[in-house]
């Protein structure tokens, strides 16, 4: 038995066989069911199932936990008068007892068991069948959470409805007819006896089924000391022309068709939905009490092959991307190389031009020439400019008798005036004299002396005024020219 600690509100159920793949899946609004006919020959139907499930998985259909439903006829059922117990030793003990009573070896079968009030109910299934049944599902990349026989799921679905001893007959068939029936018997929720009845589409299945059912009910009565009081039948009997009324009359029991949920088009789909509901109900309980097989794990070789395939794909993609990138970068590098050559040639040519031009050493030559030019064209170095500027501003009440223009920018004017005021006018006029673009001619004007002198009846004032065309130095202040 598998312990379940996680409760799943919605469960997906899946079964395949008898030429069909059936699904019952939870959706937002309820459930969705589907039946896919398997057209491949029976030995290749596993590949078809795998391909179909892979397609569905790629669409994102399988998002709920998956329960795989086995055909009831593929399993063997036994009620053991032992306790399940806890721990590996106890598990080994009941498995050994089950294998002993079934007469099978541990290498051949897989066991599932569940504790019942009457003992331990054990379900056995051949490992070969389980592997063949589950491998297509695992190859599709699906994760299987639960594996249980169909009759167990249906029993769990119907068990709440009755409390006395009762029986459930599950009918299964294919396109050709009714192939098998499985009778499950027990009391309330306790499942005690399950018997498969092979029919193989033979005529008069009602009578065969009724006869086998009577024998099974008698066996149940003998084993458990109480008769079967109610009978439920589940399965699409009408599809195979099976009338249930004669069956109920022959068995002499109060019989009825098992009411199934409405989700599903065919009876088989609705049976899947009912198993999903029963699973949900059991998961909601504190202890899970259904015999389920441990799901197969994907084979390591299969995983490795998947990984290899993915790695091959990734390597191929890397090659393509790397190749494209390499070609692009190479062509870009070639283009850039051409540009570099062109630009190097341009730079070399420019360097040659510059070398030729700098041979003339125009920088130092120009510095000398500009120095010379400034000296030649400085208006303050030109006595004509100074003479013109002074003449323009000189007042009529004074006259110059001597004019000296010195190299250091000193200009000395000596002359006479009619009055001291006239001398002041001369000094003021020289201060305001401008040259060239309106710049003051003198930076400083200084009156050296203004002495009154009487000559005959006239009095004149002799004066000497010094002006500096440039900022004078301290030593230059003393260099007043005197005749």
């Amino acid at each position: 038995m598998v312990g379940f600690w996680r409760q799943a509100k919605t469960i997906a159920t899946l079964e395949w066989g008898d030429g069909e793949l059936r699904l019952s899946l939870p959706t937002k609004g309820g459930r969705m069911t589907a039946t896919f006919p398997l057209t491949a020959p029976p030995e290749e139907q596993g590949f078809e199932v795998s391909r179909r499930l892979r397609e569905l998985a790629q669409r994102g259909v399988f998002h709920a936990p998956l329960c795989v439903v086995l055909p009831s006829s593929a399993c063997t059922y036994k009620l053991l008068k032992v306790s399940m117990g806890n721990g590996e030793a106890a598990e080994g003990a009941w498995k050994a007892e089950a294998l002993n009573q079934l007469g099978l070896s541990a290498e051949e079968v897989e066991l599932a068991g569940v504790e019942q009030p009457d003992g331990l109910f054990v379900v056995a299934c051949r490992k070969g069948f389980l592997h063949a049944y589950l491998t297509p599902i695992l190859q599709a990349g699906l994760t299987v959470r639960w594996v249980l026989p169909s009759i167990v799921g249906l029993w769990a679905f119907a068990a709440e409805k009755v409390s006395e001893s009762w029986a459930l007959i599950e009918l299964r068939g294919n396109r050709d007819g009714l192939t098998t029936a499985t009778i499950a018997m027990g009391r309330g929720e306790s499942l005690r006896l399950v018997l498969p009845i092979p029919l193989n589409g033979q005529e008069g299945a009602e009578k065969v089924l009724a006869g086998e059912a009577q024998r099974a009910f008698a066996l149940y009565h003998r084993l458990f000391g109480e008769p079967v009081q109610r009978l439920f039948v589940v399965g699409d009997g009408q599809r195979w022309g099976l009338s249930l009324t004669p069956l109920f009359q022959l068995t002499g029991l109060m019989g009825d068709e098992l009411p199934l949920p409405a989700d599903g088009i065919t009876v088989a789909e609705r049976m899947l939905t009912s198993i999903a509901e029963a699973m949900c109900r059991h998961l909601a309980r504190k202890s899970f009490s259904l015999p389920t097989f441990a799901p197969l794990q994907p084979e390591p070789t299969l995983r490795w092959r998947r990984l290899e395939e993915q790695l091959i794909g990734a390597a191929a993609a890397l090659i393509v991307v790397g190749l494209v990138a390499a070609i692009l970068f190479t062509s870009r590098a070639r283009h850039l190389q051409t540009l570099v050559s062109q630009k190097q040639a341009e730079v070399t040519q420019l360097q040659q031009t510059l070398t030729q031009m700098t041979k003339g050493d125009y920088t130092s030559k120009l510095q000398g020439m500009e120095q010379l030019w400034r000296q030649v064209n400085d208006a303050r170095n030109d006595p004509l400019e100074a003479l013109y500027a002074i003449s323009k501003t000189f007042p009529a009440s004074a006259w110059v008798t001597e004019w000296v223009f010195l190299r250091d920018g000193q200009v000395v004017l000596r002359g006479s005036a009619l009055s001291h005021g006239a001398v002041a006018d001369v000094a003021r006029a020289l201060t305001q004299a401008t040259v060239g673009n309106g710049q003051p001619l003198f930076t400083e004007v200084q009156t050296n002396f203004a002495n009154a002198r009487t000559e005959g009846e006239k009095t004149v004032v002799d004066f000497q005024i010094t002006g500096w065309l440039r900022e004078r130095s301290v030593s230059a202040r003393r260099q007043v020219w005197r005749p």
């Binding site: 092959r305 290899e308 395939e309 790695l311 091959i312 390597a315 191929a316 890397l318 090659i319 790397g322 190749l323 990138a325 390499a326 970068f329 190479t330 870009r332 590098a333 850039l336 190389q337 540009l339 570099v340 630009k343 190097q344 341009e346 730079v347 420019l350 360097q351 031009t353 510059l354 031009m357 700098t358 003339g360 050493d361 125009y362 920088t363 130092s364 030559k365 120009l366 510095q367 000398g368 020439m369 500009e370 120095q371 010379l372 030019w373 000296q375 030649v376 170095n381 030109d382 006595p383 004509l384 003479l387 008798t401 001597e402 004019w403 000296v404 223009f405 010195l406 190299r407 005749p483």
Partner: protein, 205 residues
């Protein structure tokens, strides 16, 4: 089959590594070339600027040469001084000034500015009938001196009114001829005679 898959996977991985190695190599090559192009562009820009600047300096220099005269490739101070005295005397005569003294002074070399300074001291008296005309003559003299080529700079100028024998101006001046010379000339002149040349004889009239 599984071995075949593994061999295929191994082969593909090797090819992928080669491809990516090639791509990485090409990428780094392209990146280094891009950087090289950027550096070359900067070099080209800098060279273009320097060429433009040099061209501008050349044009400016040629304009200066047109204005100030071609630098002399050979320096002959005696001939230059004689030519200066001749020109100055000619200007004085044209302006009706009587030359009293015309004395060349020692010449000097300005190594930094690449020119030679040839000074001449002159003393002259105006010959015009009155002071107004004399002043006009002096003005004309200064204008003539300014038009001389290579340029003549007046470093010292003194005018004094004299009354004997008639009212006139006595002019004393130091006129300097600034003659641009070639660098080779500067180099030949500088070691042996750094700045000053020999004093030329005084010419008195």
């Amino acid at each position: 089959m599984r071995d075949g898959h593994r061999i295929l996977l191994l082969g593909l991985v090797v090819i992928a590594l080669l491809c990516w190695g090639w791509a990485a190599s090409a990428f780094w090559q392209a990146r280094s070339l891009s950087r090289q192009i950027a550096e070359l562009d900067e070099q080209r820009l800098a060279l273009s600027r320097r060429i433009a600047e040099t061209q501008r300096q050349k044009e400016r220099y040629e304009a200066m040469v047109r204005e100030l005269g071609e630098p002399l490739k050979q320096f002959n101070p005696g001939a230059l001084t004689a030519r200066l005295m001749e020109q100055v005397e000619g200007a004085l005569t044209q302006s009706r000034l009587k030359v009293e003294t015309l004395q060349p002074l020692s010449w000097q070399v300005n190594a930094e500015g690449r020119w030679v300074r040839l000074p001449v001291q002159v003393t002259a008296v105006t010959t015009q009938p009155n002071l107004n005309d004399a002043l006009q003559g002096i003005t004309e003299l200064l204008q003539r001196l300014r038009r001389l080529h290579p340029p003549l700079v007046t470093e010292r100028w003194s005018m004094q009114v004299v009354s004997q024998p008639k009212p006139a101006f006595r002019v004393q001046a130091v006129l300097v001829w600034l003659v641009p010379v070639d660098e080779a000339v500067v180099k030949t002149l500088s070691p042996s005679r750094p700045l000053r040349g020999s004093v030329a004889p005084t010419l008195r009239r």
